[in-house]
């Protein structure tokens, strides 16, 4: 007779480290995959951040002190490539992976195994690109925009760059399809599209951009590889090709890419500001329509990167670029109106969200200015452009990412990050960021070209460059404070409540961290903020019950 031994919960043996490792490596749980995205993305962030410090150290003074010109070219190329394609986009995908299924009340993503594949392609992509440093001739050195003909003439590191980006492109397309199907198909009962949480809307809009724009750069990369290695002539004017074709293909993807990198951050900030203002988001419908309008318009603006080529229709691309500032402006007014007369709480998520609003405003206004062809002719390829892209992608997206990290860390890890260290992190990052990148506007106006390893001492650029270098190291200190905060917090016991902030959306209706199956039970969904509705209904009932 067979005897079944029932183990009591307390006696279940702890899984061995090897078992736990295999479980992580083979997981298809969207939450674990989200966490893997975070670890991978922040590892890339550290590598690309060190590259930034190397560049700033080199540029602090005239002369070549630390990096040769060739090494500098490789470092700035990989800094931009890694930050854009393998830090910002994947870390936003990590938030999407972890929180979209929770926000819509789903058990997992629509295609869990495809989800795992999407993630695992990314570390392979990063290592492929970085392995260029071991190749003959070094890593890719044509800038993150990889313009031809320089990119056709580079060594094997360029091929590794192309291969790495192809992998990242496939990963992002598969991930985007997964997000769209998950959102369209697996929403909780009662969650209509106009009750979808705003971060999930942002992820949906981002995913549409990825599905429609990323294949275009994939095609461009195939053409570039074929020109380099197979003898085709897509970009060779001497044999019927066209150098500007690369710029068209790259920017047809590249400008929607900017919105791929910012939409999810807008979504996060649009979640955080209402929670820390104690009010629902002002103009939910307006925000959703703005996201969709920006998504559509982003396909009509690519050639504003090509004004100086003399081969594009200046008024058309100038006007479409200016048009996109209208829905973007709507977002700002919605955020401000949400805060108006609110009970503001200045916890770290809100500090970073406010930092985002202020810094992204500057980055956005820089962009409006550059949409004018006359202005663009003067500042094209100067440090002004470097300032602009960093005010958008660091002042905007990275501040948004940090807001999201502080906001959702308790949900992911069951532990609250230190408020004090979070405040130190914010102020150091805010000061360091402005110290680094604001002077770059002035350097651009004074004519300093981007992507140079050295400059003459008599150009009047030295002081501003030194200031930017000091700022870069202050940013480095801010990141160390964040790292210490994470390490110290992870060593503490799990004690975060299910809803530490008074959240609005469904992820706050489950434990911190959530169980493997996400929810024990779902509250009814009657708006885009079901947890807020339930809390206010409970408060109203309690007040009504009082004599």
């Amino acid at each position: 007779m067979a005897i079944t031994e029932v183990q009591r919960p307390g006696l279940v043996p702890e899984p061995s480290p090897a078992t736990r490792l295999v479980a992580w490596l083979t997981t298809t749980d969207h939450k674990r995959i989200g966490i893997l995205y975070f670890w991978n993305s922040f590892a890339v962030f550290a590598v690309a951040g060190v590259m930034a410090l190397l560049m700033r150290t080199e540029l602090a003074q005239p002369g070549t002190q630390l990096l040769s010109v060739r090494a500098y070219n490789q470092v700035f190329t990989l800094h931009g490539t890694l930050m854009i394609f393998l830090f910002i986009f994947p870390v936003l995908a990590g938030f999407g992976n972890y929180f979209v299924p929770l926000q819509i009340g789903a058990l997992d993503m629509a295609f869990p195994r495809v989800n795992a594949l999407s993630f695992w392609l990314l570390p392979v992509s990063a290592l492929t690109i970085l392995s260029g440093f071991l190749a003959k001739g070094g890593a890719a050195a044509s800038g993150w925009t990889n313009y031809v003909p320089i990119s056709v003439q580079q060594g094997a590191g360029e091929d590794l760059w192309i291969a790495g980006l192809l992998l990242a492109g496939v990963a992002s397309i598969l991930g985007a399809i997964n997000f769209i199907v998950t959102i369209l198909r697996l929403r909780a009962p009662g969650m209509t599209m106009m009750r979808l949480p705003i971060f999930s809307w942002a992820t949906l809009a981002t995913s549409l951009l990825v599905v429609l724009a990323t294949p275009v750069i994939t095609a461009g990369l195939v053409m570039l590889f074929a020109d380099r290695r197979l003898g085709t002539t897509f970009f060779n004017p001497a044999r019927g090709g066209d150098v500007l074709l690369w710029q068209h293909v790259f920017w047809f993807f590249g400008h929607p890419e900017v919105y791929m990198l910012i939409l999810a951050a807008w979504g996060m900030v649009s979640e955080i500001i209402p929670v820390f203002s104690g009010k629902p988001l002002f103009g939910y419908t307006g925000v959703v329509l703005s996201f969709l309008l920006i998504t559509a318009l982003s396909f009509s603006v690519w050639a504003h990167h090509m004004f100086v080529t003399g081969q594009v229709e200046l008024p058309f691309f100038s006007v479409t670029t200016e048009l996109i500032s209208i829905p973007t402006g709507v977002l700002f007014f919605n955020w401000l109106a949400t805060m108006r007369k609110g009970k503001l709480r200045f916890d770290p998520p809100m500090l970073f969200a406010l930092g985002f609003v202020a810094m992204f405003l500057i980055g956005g206004l820089d962009g409006v200015w550059m949409a004018s062809p006359a202005m663009d002719f003067a500042i094209h390829d100067t440090y002004w452009v470097v300032a602009h892209i960093h005010y958008v992608l660091f002042g905007g997206t990275v501040f948004g990412i940090m807001a999201g990290m502080y906001y959702w860390f308790p949900k992911i890890c069951g532990r609250m990050l230190s408020r004090r260290l979070g405040q130190w992190h914010f102020w150091l990052q805010f000061i360091g960021f402005n110290l680094t990148f604001f002077p770059m506007h002035l350097l651009g106006l004074r004519g300093m070209p981007r992507r140079i390893a050295d400059y003459a001492p008599d150009r009047g650029w030295t002081f501003l460059n030194s200031l930017a270098t000091v700022g870069a190291f202050v940013i480095g200190m801010a990141m160390l404070v964040f790292l210490v905060n994470v390490i110290v917090t992870l060593r503490r016991p799990r004690e975060a409540p299910a809803d530490p902030w008074g959240g609005f959306t469904l992820e706050w209706a489950t434990s911190s961290p959530p169980p493997a199956h996400n929810f024990e039970r779902l509250p009814p969904v009657r708006s885009s903020r079901p947890v807020y509705d339930m809390r206010t209904a409970a408060q109203a009932a309690a007040e009504g019950a009082e004599p």
Binding site: A226, F234, R239, P523, P524
Partner: protein
């Protein structure tokens, strides 16, 4: 969290009604593939408008015969798959299998004919921009047809082992979405590279 709770059900059951996840996923995949080829067609148009003679550089037009047979076979496979699709909607597993096997045969024939047709082409990959466009676009188109053949073969195996009916023929629908895309792509590539160049377009 207490309150009026809605019990959890499994993913597919609680999903919004309508197209299945696998079919919707395939529609989105085809949308991304369309943009991939749109970039190549954009490159084609960009080149075409900048040339006085087409094909440029004295490049001969690719011959029509085998390419026509290949594209005809591809279109035939698309029609046969419609037969499988209709049989699936009527719930006839044996009929579905027969239509699917015929579809696969026509698809394989198309791949073989396309590969053989390259032997007739009178220029190599290095012959300038038209050759670049021709070989990359027809080659990538062929790669997509070959990928579709693998997909069809998997569906045929599922059909012959009886698994297809168990999953409500969703793989047939998903495969049909992809295969219809491949058929249209093959037709457009045929018209652009073979018909127009041979008729002075």
């Amino acid at each position: 969290m207490s309150g009026t709770a809605i019990p959890i059900r499994s993913g597919e059951e609680r999903a919004v009604a309508g197209t299945s996840s696998s079919v919707l996923g395939m529609v989105l995949f085809v949308a991304s593939e369309s943009m991939f080829f749109a970039a190549f067609f954009g490159a084609y148009v960009n080149t075409y408008v900048n040339q006085k003679v087409w094909p440029p550089n004295n490049t001969p037009a690719p011959p029509l015969s085998l390419a026509t047979a290949a594209v005809a076979s591809l279109v035939l496979s698309g029609l046969l798959l419609q037969g499988a699709f209709r049989a699936a909607r009527r719930g006839l597993p044996g009929t579905v299998s027969r239509w699917l096997v015929l579809t696969l045969a026509a698809a394989v024939a198309s791949v073989v004919l396309t590969l053989v047709s390259y032997a007739e082409v009178g220029f190599g990959l290095h012959a300038g921009i038209f050759a670049s466009l021709f070989y990359l676009m027809t080659g990538l188109g062929l790669a997509h047809v070959a990928g579709g053949v693998v997909l069809l073969a998997l569906v045929v195996v599922q059909s012959l082992t009886g698994r297809l009916a168990l999953v409500r023929y969703q793989p047939v629908q998903a495969a049909a979405v992809y295969w219809n895309f491949v058929v249209v792509l093959g037709l457009v590539i045929y018209v652009v590279f073979y018909v127009l160049t041979n008729t002075g377009g």
